[in-house]
Symmetry: C2
Subunit: 457 residues, 2 copies
């Protein structure tokens, strides 16, 4: 009986794939760049419409920022599965590095290109396809489902924690499937159990009302670019030690179980070195457990952008009045973004950089799920069935997302499942998705839904 | 007789001012941004045409970079006066800060706005107007004249030294009027006797072939922006001490005569603080001789621009593969740009920054003229007559230009005379010229020409 259901599920996915690719093209054609407020409202409406077309109740709910698309559908059991997803995408810039228009899904062989196709629009479509497949196979949904599809994930989900706090009753559920998932370089399914937190700030300095001729002011005027460089230099030394007092105070070292899980993961060092053409990794680590641990269990201070003065070709002899840096701190348990911003502010003041303004652009707390929860085991067993390989369980990943309120406020076990693969170029030009991983991501999601309904409470 | 000549000169200038303003509008309408190679060839042709229209022989000569407009005309005596000027302008960016189109001369009251109107196109027209006035008053030119009008001054005149070396016979003269001049905040005429040198470099770093997600690479990938910040930080400390070993080795302290001249200059501190809305000057100096000396007799290391990663609104969680800084060093006698670049390279290597590429974008040596030369006295006496005030003699100014080959290769006394004033916004948006200073600059230039022809050799 169970095998019969799975056969029906897979047959449905195989039969309807062109329809789901069309839906994906439709969704990718709608820009939704949260960093630039480009197409956000239109995309929220489109996602709600697409949920309704699949038979779900859907509404565009206000938040303290961009709207959240909420959806729900009833099923046979009284258990509820929550899908967290996001409809916003990263900015497409630099446009000149794209080989096809970012907001027009383009097929080359069995690879599909578009901004957001992997992160996260392909996952939205994969969830809808999986639900349709299970419904077709069983005649009805086996459990209740809820959707929370937000529009600010790519700008740090600043309003998701409050949204979850404010709607705990409405969002009540028994388990959650996260917005991403997929395979590693060797095609092994990956299971992410947690994410680092983030604290994304803009540092800005203004030293005059206007730029000056560098010959006039060079010896006597404060220079905004120099102020910024000196301030940044106090944040981290070239041994990657973050110098903000108390920055590491709340860092919890990985547990023995965390390290055991890391040890089982493959070594991605050769692939990373080749893909990015790196001369080596920070700190001289070459790979193995050292690299795995450093990659996800150490907090970061990354300069994401620098801007000041003249940046065109050739020379302009100008002394800049303004300078700006974008800096992101990735946080590990139990660091908190509000605490880090306060420590950063105090540190700059102590070092004489009260003229450097700190603006918090996004923050979220780190969070992890118990690797031995039954729902995690279900996600892993179904992955083994679909991919033919034992999933690689990551105790925490380097990226960030608003999983903290789902894990610690709603109290849900959260698992990942999806369509991603390492060369999908998320956040970069030529973001893409492979057809085979798209179909497997749908199959895996469908099996979790089907298994969840039968899972012992 | 002499007074009669001067009366005729002034009457001519008064009578023909609309014609010269039309010529200036025509010249400003032709973009000529050397940093962007925008309109350069067209502007060189236009300048040659305009010289020919005034009765001079003119040719567009090749150099190792952009062409040089050379012109000449014969006069009564066998003495020759050389005019050094430039037809290129600074980039107009940031365009949004202009109140009128940068390449369309716009009049508001008796102020005229355009990119290059003061630096240096207004000076080109002022020289032509002065020559026409003297010729009209005397019936012929009283001396031979030559023009060297280059197209690379705003990018550091990289090819002017070689051009002068290569054409010493053709450029032979007895004295030179420089490309700028004018008045200070109080309307006092200014006489500049020298200029600092310049060494303008681009520092660039590339750590990978493409940007990475900051969540993926933050803990383990080298970050180009951080490499650049750390490298820059080794160049100068926040007490403005330049840390490159040997940087100060060839610095010659100002002479007693230099300091005497500086002492006679007015204190611009209040005007600078007000114009740029500065909180104070570097090093805590408040004004007076300390500020004057620091402004021009100390070498600089100025960050003119910074560029890396994401610089738009909001957040993008990217780890940049590339970063770039534009840095200009202003040099005092007897520093040399080639020597400074070599010391910079060695310093970066010593500090482990061999990954930082240094590209020399422009260089020129500092040079000064004897304050007691008869031609300098002539320029000062005629300034007193025109402006009704004793000129303020600056032993050296903060800016740079290729005066070294004119002073030390051609062996000429070089003086400044012109149309500038402190709020003319050179190198910045809304560059402008005042009608009264334009006319006085023409009168002063005409008097130097007339007096030079009668000057004892």
């Amino acid at each position: 009986m169970e095998q019969d259901v799975l056969t029906k599920i897979d047959a449905y996915i195989e039969r309807t794939q062109d329809y789901w690719l069309e839906q994906l093209a439709r969704l990718c054609a709608q820009p939704s760049v949260s960093a630039q407020n480009y197409g956000i409202a239109e995309c929220a409406d489109l996602v709600a419409t697409m949920l309704q077309e699949q038979g779900f109740r859907a509404e565009v709910m206000p938040s303290n920022g961009y709207p959240v698309v909420y959806g729900e559908g009833n099923g046979r059991s009284d258990k509820t599965l929550l899908f967290y997803l996001h409809y916003d995408v990263q900015p497409p810039e630099p446009l000149e590095l794209w080989d096809s228009p970012p907001f027009e899904m383009t097929r080359k062989g069995d690879t599909f290109y578009a901004r957001g196709i992997s992160d996260d629009k392909g996952h939205i479509i994969a969830r809808l396809a999986a639900l349709a497949a299970v419904k077709e196979a069983l005649g009805e949904l086996p459990c209740n489902v809820k959707f929370v599809i937000e529009g600010e994930e790519e700008v740090g989900s600043p309003n998701m924690p409050a949204f979850v706090e404010d709607h705990q009753q409405k969002l009540a559920a028994d388990a959650c499937i996260w917005e991403f998932g997929g395979v590693d370089y060797d095609g092994n399914p990956a299971q992410s159990l947690g994410m680092r937190g983030i604290c994304y700030v803009e540092l800005s300095v203004q030293t005059a009302v206007k730029d000056a001729h560098s010959g006039l002011g060079g010896s006597i005027f404060p220079n905004a670019a120099w102020r910024l460089v000196w301030a940044l230099n106090t944040l981290k030394d070239d041994n990657e030690q973050i110098l903000i007092p108390g920055f590491y105070d709340d860092v919890v070292a990985p547990s023995a179980r965390d390290l055991e899980l890391l040890q089982l993961l493959p070594d991605h060092a050769p692939n990373l070195l080749e893909t990015y053409k790196l001369k080596g990794f920070l700190g001289g680590v070459e790979g193995g457990l050292d690299l795995k641990q450093q990659a996800v269990f150490t907090p970061t201070c990354t300069i994401c952008g620098l801007n000041s003065g003249y940046q065109g070709v050739g020379t302009k002899t100008v002394l800049p009045a303004k300078a700006m840096a974008k800096v992101d701190f990735r946080l590990v348990p139990n660091q908190r973004p509000d605490d880090i911003v306060a420590k950063l502010r105090a540190h700059l003041d102590t070092h004489g950089f009260s003229d450097v303004t700190v603006t918090l652009l996004g923050g979220g707390r780190p969070a992890k799920v118990d690797p031995d929860h039954p729902f995690v085991r279900l996600a892993n067993e179904t992955a083994t069935a679909v991919y033919g390989k034992t999933p690689l369980v990551e105790p925490i990943v380097g990226g960030s997302g608003p999983n903290y309120p789902f894990i610690h406020v709603l109290g849900l076990p959260v698992v990942s499942a999806g369509i991603g693969y390492p060369d999908s170029q998320v956040h970069a030009p030529n973001e893409n998705m492979r057809l085979d991983y798209f179909l497997k991501g749908i199959q895996h999601t469908a099996r979790i839904i089907e298994g969840f309904a039968r899972m012992e409470a």
